[in-house]
Symmetry: C2
Subunit: 118 residues, 2 copies
Amino acid sequence: MLLTSKKLELELKAKLFRGFSDTSRLSILEALRVQPLNVGEIVTATGLTQSNISNHLGCLRDCGLVASEQRGRFTYYRLADDRIDSLLRLAEELLSDVAKGVYQCTRYETTEGVSDGE
Amino acid sequence: MLLTSKKLELELKAKLFRGFSDTSRLSILEALRVQPLNVGEIVTATGLTQSNISNHLGCLRDCGLVASEQRGRFTYYRLADDRIDSLLRLAEELLSDVAKGVYQCTRYETTEGVSDGE
DNA sequence: CCATTATATCATTGAGTGCTGATATAATGA
DNA sequence: TCATTATATCAGCACTCAATGATATAATGG
């Protein structure tokens, strides 16, 4: 049972990181880093469609990464914990050093080939 | 061009987190948190297949999350930066608080339905 | 040189999942 | 009540990508 909880912890951790591993969710989180926003404001801030955002918000909320509060017809979202900001900042620090490596990680790349010459 | 770099930074950050967002890669990283290991030792530590691990290691190395060193017939891998450990630890702290939420994030769940009664 | 060991690569497959468009729900105001 | 605004839900599609099995490469020992 202890081994199982170890495995479960792995899955939880992976799921947590998956919340950050998509550009759409990430841009939502970045927008909320500045201040709480309602869905319409997130649409404006990110340029994503409403249904897309709503879907991602649902997951982010279920995962405990954002919290929501109803105010009249609006639903305001905010980061659920300060450590989420810390996590993002730490990632930025790390990236400033390993960015070149990540640039070259075209293995699972979809968009345009960032593959530089050499 | 500045806007583009903003978008690029988002993609980099997402890609970095994606390195952590898979249980297989995560268990490889966890094993390497303890000490550097060669591929065979990682196989033993994680129980994953060799080719699977090798594939994940290739990505992790390209992304700059692990570094490798050839020693005879063996290739030893280690975490490329101390902040990777920090990132994992911060995630663990965060999880200890929001775990209940992540448990319920069955939205993108694959395995058994953790869906509680109500 | 041949067998063995260690690791990497590749094609394939199947499941995961992000996006869209349509629709449902809910709150507000006229 | 009806129209409008704000948000959520859902089905379907397209694409991503983890896992596997087979094979390639490379180093070592006999």
